[in-house]
Symmetry: C2
Subunit: 370 residues, 2 copies
Amino acid sequence: MHLVSAVTCLCEVPDGWDAIVAGHDDRPGRRLRVAVDAAGADLGAEPVVAGALAAAETVDVLLVGPRALVRPLLPGGVPPPGVRLVDAPDVVAMAEDPVAATYAKRRSSLLVAAGEVAAGRADAMVTPGNTGAAVLAAAVRMGRVPGVSNPALAMVLPVPGAGPTVLLDIGATAAAVPDWLVEFAVLGAEYARARLGLARPRIGLLSNGHEAVKGGPVRRDAHLLLATMPGYTGQIEAYDVLGGRVDVAVTDGFTGDVALKTYERTLDATVGLALDAVRAFSPIGVLARDRQRRVTRAVRDGLAAEPGGALLGVRGVCVICHGTATAADVEASVGIAGECFRSGVVGRIARAFAASSRQRLRGRRSPVDG
Amino acid sequence: MHLVSAVTCLCEVPDGWDAIVAGHDDRPGRRLRVAVDAAGADLGAEPVVAGALAAAETVDVLLVGPRALVRPLLPGGVPPPGVRLVDAPDVVAMAEDPVAATYAKRRSSLLVAAGEVAAGRADAMVTPGNTGAAVLAAAVRMGRVPGVSNPALAMVLPVPGAGPTVLLDIGATAAAVPDWLVEFAVLGAEYARARLGLARPRIGLLSNGHEAVKGGPVRRDAHLLLATMPGYTGQIEAYDVLGGRVDVAVTDGFTGDVALKTYERTLDATVGLALDAVRAFSPIGVLARDRQRRVTRAVRDGLAAEPGGALLGVRGVCVICHGTATAADVEASVGIAGECFRSGVVGRIARAFAASSRQRLRGRRSPVDG
């Protein structure tokens, strides 16, 4: 579970780190450079390349993957303007063990893409590949932000009638100890500040009830550690994640994965049934089909989670999208990566953990060291 | 976490146990007797009493709670035919610690209702009260089925286009060790046989992926222990709980609580947005409102989970419904309790664990002892 510390020995300091912490190279006219991992998705390279090409209208794209796989998918076999091919001969499959694959496949598209970010040749990476291996690749090549034990994957979920909620971790670190949940709270708060523009995000700890007796030993200890954190509102229920009560919902990667997938599946099932009902009760077929499309779009626009999660706690921007991402999802994930880079979330996180470390040196309690 | 063993010293053998295991007293003409806990719900006693009175059309109801609370809610202050008042002066509040409340409030409506079942004066109990205290009350008064370490709360979720899925545990036992998950699988399989009439239910272990590398140490060990169980299909994702791939989804009570509440909230939010969209795109207001009602009903009928969960592993029938249960929910929960009693699920569970115990004595591996 604790994947990242298992390969700490491989960790290197990224070349672009000082620039990232100091503030971004965001001069007018300079286009964002995003490394897109074209290999390892569930649906093959085609939708990923199509999405990357669409994104290349506005950003520079580094397409990372086996040359023989990617080149045939380019128009005329040649990268169009704004697109560069970066060869990475190894592919990590979805079912592979992340640690074993990271050791064995040093030229995987994941490690190469993360290496481009670490070397300062890309501003961000986007991957629809094996989540565990992607987390490791980012942690290994970019390194962790000092003070972060484990990165967390954060997803922005829309809430009808209220601002969105950041849910983390949704799968980077399946197990959790109280200290890690506290770190996730800091990561999520900085993400909410950077991406959602919230000055003082409200943070909840996902539990099985609001009451102090709920949550089991791990949550109860994390709850005590979080008590002094600005914006911390207490333990929340899963209802509250979509309820507008908090801006950040903190949990371990196992529970976050279950919550997110339950959400996605329920949304699909409900939309499907609602459309069946609209069709059944609509007297005119053509009108019904038209209404159906508009209802679907309205509900999906109102409720669908972002197609990619941001990996927080590593020294660079990494967006991990679904293994079944469509071209539109990949294009949108490049957009999320751009927002992450421009909002300076990595530098914010580094400063938050550095401040907490200084507090620790001065002997004060801080939200991070509990 | 392990609430039940904390109070094992209080455990008594219920009087009706032999009859329950042997087969039920289900002579034609005899009405079912259900003890309904009228106290401790979030919305007060009113909807609970209303639901119980509605249920009393077809079953005999024992209304359990403080006399002064319940009597004013009866028509004319007198129990109608089919309803009997059972005084229980203590009330366990939602936020109370279950163990402390169980020790301190020996005449709580929960312990009295469970005692009615244990004494054979009721066939089942229904409560919208504090879940942890309800689990303890049932375990303490009825006792656990021999071989069961912890009871599990099982909910039937509808799946569009397929048979329903039994999800357990949804909150009786928040923590889980591999052996308990195996017990939950046996409990869930017997519930699916008894209530859904499935000869060979397909059982999945809820995890964060299908791959063998997923799930963390607890799931991976449980997966190995379950490998020889008939009907076990492997680790599943949250998508599969509503996907028609399994009939029983097994997890710990913490994750089950998060999954169920995410499901309920997403369903509400999606239906709400779909209705807004139908209304927005419908040219005629009155028609839209009418359609709205029909769409809502169709979606809710198609997707809403049962309003009550069955507590499995105790020596009697106990249905725990939501703290915010409406009168209709309480009435439906009495119906679930009746189905549980008539289907003989408690006897089935006892026989399954007894068989497993005999196998153990003969030195064979069994699904339960792993």
